[in-house]
Structure formats: C-alpha cells, structure tokens
Amino acid sequence: MDNYIISTKNLTKKYGSKVVVNNLNLNIAESQIYGLLGPNGAGKSTIILMMLGLTEPTSGEISVLGYNPTKEPLKIKRFTGYLPERVGFYEDMTAAQNLEYTALLNSIPEKEIPSKIDECLSIVGLEKEKNILVGKFSKGMKQRLGIADVLIKNPQLVIFDEPTEGLDVEVANQILETIANLNKDKKITFIISSHQLNLVQKICHKVGIMSKGKLIGEGNISELSKDMFGGNKYLIEVEIIGDVNKVAEKIKTINGVKEVSTTENAIHIGTDEDLRQDISKIITGTDGIILTKMDIKDFSLEDVYLNYFKEV
C-alpha cells in the first residue's frame, strides 16, 4: 500500500444488513486528480467519510497518507483538506475570521496565520473580500472560500465532494482551473466526487466509476473508452439506402479506419481521426447508394459513464 496516497483493500462498509461499500480495492497515486463518479447511493460519500476517519469500515483495510484513518484520524486530517458538498461557514464572521478559526484548529502558529490567510485568499481570488461577512457571499464565493479553507493547512491531499454543484458554468470553470493549477504547482492530490462529468473530464487524470458500493470501472478516459468502445476516439455512424455490406467493405480500405460494423441500413466506423470526407467520397462514388445521414461522435466521459450503467 506504500506507493499510493490512498489505498484500500477489500474495504467494506455495512449499515445493518445494507452493504454500502462492497470489497473496494482502490489505489490513488500521489499528485493525481482522481474523479470518483457514480450515482447517488453508490457509496462515494461513505468512502470519503472512511478516508477521513469519520466512520469506521466494517471490514477490510484503508490507508490514507500511510495512516490508518480509524486509528490515526488526526494525522490524516492534519494533511487532508475536505470540502463537503454543502460547505458551511460562520456567516456572522468575515472570510478572514473563518479562515483564522480553521488555522487555529490546525495548530498553525498565530504569527503565521495572517500571511497564510492572505496567501490562500489570493489563490482563490477573494483577497478583496477578506473583511466581508461570509453571510454576504454568493454560493460561488463560499465555494472558493472553501478551497481557501482547505489550503490553509498546506494539505497533501484534498477531497472535494461535488465542488461545482449548483454553480454557473463560468464559476465552475474558475474553480476547476484553480484545482488544476494547485495540482500542477503544489503537487496536491485531489479526489473529486462529482456528477458533473463534463467538468470532471476537464481536469481528472483518472476516474473511478462506482455503482452499488463497487468500483465498476477505473482508468483515464481513453482507457475507459477503449474498454467500452474498442479504443477508438471517434464513432462515425452512416445511414444509407443501398447495399450496406458493399459500402462497408470499401470503407475498410480507407487509411485510419479501425473498426467497421453494420446493421440493416447503417454502418458504424471506429476511427482515431475525423474521416467523414473520405467516407462520403466513397459513398457518393458508389453506384446505387444514397447517403441519408452521417454523424460523428467524440467519446466523452459521459458516454463511458452511461455505457457502464447500461451494462450494469
């Protein structure tokens, strides 16, 4: 378990007879942005609680930063920042006062606190709002303050539960950009639990897909799409009137075509590049064939995700 910042082995959590996390084997490497995906009730939040020592596993092993969260939760929490889905702050206190309280709880020397607060607030772009009551903050500002709050302790690992939930696209992108920069500059490992796959796709190096307490898929997006769609980046779908097999054979000769399959009146072509021009030339150059539709699909995390759940 030593090479990973987080490692679980047959981790199981039961509430009564209900199995919420089922024999989970998860390894997250250092300095990675790891996306933990899955529908509600998949067990993502329970895994996070176990990582922080806020709930005990029923069986199995878990190691975070080399420590056992059940036995040494404080050591883990000293170097782990956690931003819950709905982050709360003391609204009658200013942004700086809230951060100061967090800093004191983390035993940061009092002399260092003011400069640390300024540094963290400038990372999230809230330096001008330092002395404003949090009660006057928008949701996006609170979320950014939440990032500053987790950074105050110089974390090695940060866990975000739905960090962009309920935010508009622009603010969500700013937050993701901040996360990506922190990962790049400070080598902080991030675990992001989210439903917003298009946003996660932008920054995650690796994703784990959870369903019913099990990890049903893991890897980067191209690895996952390879598992699902044979490793092709694009899927071109062509609908024609005429001899489908005859056209399919001709398409196979195009350089770059990796996979061709047919149905009654459609041809599915797997490729790594956009070959629509070449394909249309072949179709229009073949006698008795009329092209009725041509679509190209770029595999996204959402396709992978939806396909997993279609299979499950």
Partner: protein
C-alpha cells in the same frame, strides 16, 4: 486540549456578542434590580433594629406584596438561561453545514461538545454571578450592613448551586440539540420538560398525595404526615424543586429546614428556632445539590456519547 480551548474561546466570543446573551442579561438584570428594590423597601428598617444574624441574605429572599423574591425570579430564569445556551449547540452547527467542515479538522470530536459546554457554563456563571454580586453591592451601599464571613460563604455556595442548576438545564437542552435535527424542536422539548418540572410536578404531587392520604377535617396526624411525605417525595423528582429546597435552606438559615419534614404547629411552638450553622445547612442541602450535579452529568454524558457515535454527513 488546545482545540477545546480554541473552540471554547470562539464560542465564548459568539455568546458575548450574541443578541440572546444581551437580551437574557437585560432581562435578568431588570428582574434582579426590581426584586432588590422591593426587598430593600422591606428590610431597610428591619436591618437597623434586627437582631437577625443574616440580614444581608434577606436581600435575596425578601418578597414584596406584589413581586416575589429574587430567589423565585432566579429559580424561574436559570432554566431559561440554561436552555437558551444549549438548545442549538450542535444542531445549529449541523444545519449551517459547519459541523462536517469542523470535523474534518485535526481535532477530536469531543473537543467540539466540550468546548461548547464549557463556554456555556462560563457565560451562565457570568450572568448569574454578576447579578447576585450586583445585588450584594447595591444592598451593601443602601442598607449599610456588611455581610458576615458566613454570609459571604453562603452567597458563594448559592452561586455554585445556581450554576449547577443552570448547567443541568443546559446539558439537557444540549442533549436535545444532539439528538434532534431542528433547533425549534429541541427548544420546544426543553421548554416542555421545564414546564412539566416547574408547574406540573407540584400539581401531580398534590393530587397523588391527596388521593392516597386525603387531608380531611378529621384526618389523623399519621395521615397528615403520610400526605406530606408523599407530596414531598413526588416533588423531589423535579430538579426545580430540589433547587428551590437547597437555596431556600442555604439563604434562610432560620427555620427553613422545617420545610424538609412533617412538623405540626404544636411541635413548632415548642421549638427554639436557632439558625442553622453553615455546616448544618450544607448537610441539609447536600443531597439536593448532588442530585442536581448528577443530573447535569448524566445529561451531558448521554449527549457526549450520542454525539461521538453520530455519523456526520454534509448532506
């Protein structure tokens, strides 16, 4: 320990700057000063001629024609103060989504409840202690009789019992704040229990004792004693009654001990009612005080255990 202190300081600052603190302080000071005005009207003349060794304590125990004594006000207000400082201790943190953020910091979970509990006790002690001392100061200035050392000791013990009693109510309301999600539910439950103990236990005690041993015109002495004992036993399930008993005996050294047992008018006429010494008064109030402290500890222990075992989620 450092984290308890950090939380304690923050909670203390919150209490002192909160509106509820200012309102409670104003209310307690207002009623305290009203009651001392009434008591001063009645004891000023008595103080100059009285041979009573405990004139100073009368500041707290003398009632007017219309207004009750400071003791009565205090027995009424202390539960309210305790409830106000405890009812939203945990569930307000949970509802404001601060609890999961707090628990993700490198602190033991019990630091949160301990810090809040200690801050509540401190704030209560300041409110209760300050009004009792203000009354003593005003009394000293106006009646011109300084308290004896025994009176000072009695006042200090009186403050201690008041704080213990307030701590019980705070621990009880804190328990509800741990087990109930909504602050409105926890405060209403706490107030319902206070009303039950403050008003209904006395009514129930009266009804039960009269049903078991009715006092009629020709009731025997044994029946009267039985009635008294049943009434007293039922009343003593109420912390409010235990508190009233203990502070009455402590602050009225002459004759108040008679409330503790069945005594006939004939017996009283044969008695020489010398005031109890401090030691004797303490022996009399010791069981009541221990019961109040034990109740506070039990309530806090339950809330502590429940809170430690609770799973805190952000959603």
């Amino acid at each position: 320990m450092k984290s308890v202190l950090t939380i304690y300081r923050k909670e203390l600052a919150d209490y002192f700057s909160s509106k509820k603190f200012l309102i409670l302080l104003g209310l307690v000071y207002l009623t305290g000063l009203t009651s001392i005005y009434v008591s001063l009207q009645n004891i000023r003349a008595a103080a100059q001629s009285s041979t009573d060794a405990f004139v100073f304590l009368k500041l707290y125990t003398t009632a007017g024609d219309v207004l009750p004594s400071f003791l009565y006000f205090l027995s009424f207000f202390i539960p309210i103060i305790g409830i106000v400082f405890g009812f939203d201790a945990i569930n307000s943190e949970r509802n404001s989504k601060n609890l999961s953020r707090l628990l993700s910091q490198p602190i033991y979970r019990d630091s949160i409840i301990n810090g809040k509990f200690l801050a509540g006790i401190t704030t209560m002690s300041i409110i209760i202690g300050s009004i009792i001392l203000i009354i003593a100061g005003i009394g000293l200035r106006i009646i011109g009789v300084p308290p004896s050392s025994e009176e000072i000791l009695r006042i200090i013990i009186f403050i201690f019992i008041c704080v213990c009693y307030g701590t019980f109510w705070m621990a009880l309301s804190m328990l509800f704040s741990v087990i109930m999600d909504k602050t409105a539910t926890s405060i209403l439950t706490s107030i319902a229990i206070w009303i039950f103990f403050f008003f209904f236990v006395q009514i129930i005690a009266n009804a039960v004792s009269n049903a078991i041993a009715p006092i009629t015109d020709n009731a025997t002495l044994a029946t009267q004693i039985k009635n008294f004992n049943i009434d007293l036993a039922i009343k003593r399930i109420s912390p409010a009654y235990l508190f009233t008993e203990s502070i009455t005996i402590l602050l009225i050294p002459s004759g108040s001990q008679l409330f503790l047992r069945a005594v006939t008018t004939a017996d009283i006429s044969k008695m020489l009612l010398n005031p109890l010494s401090l030691g004797q008064s303490l022996i009399q109030v010791w069981p009541q005080t221990v019961a109040i402290i034990a109740l506070a500890i039990i309530c806090f222990a339950i809330s502590y255990i429940v809170f430690i075992k609770q799973e805190i989620r952000s959603t």
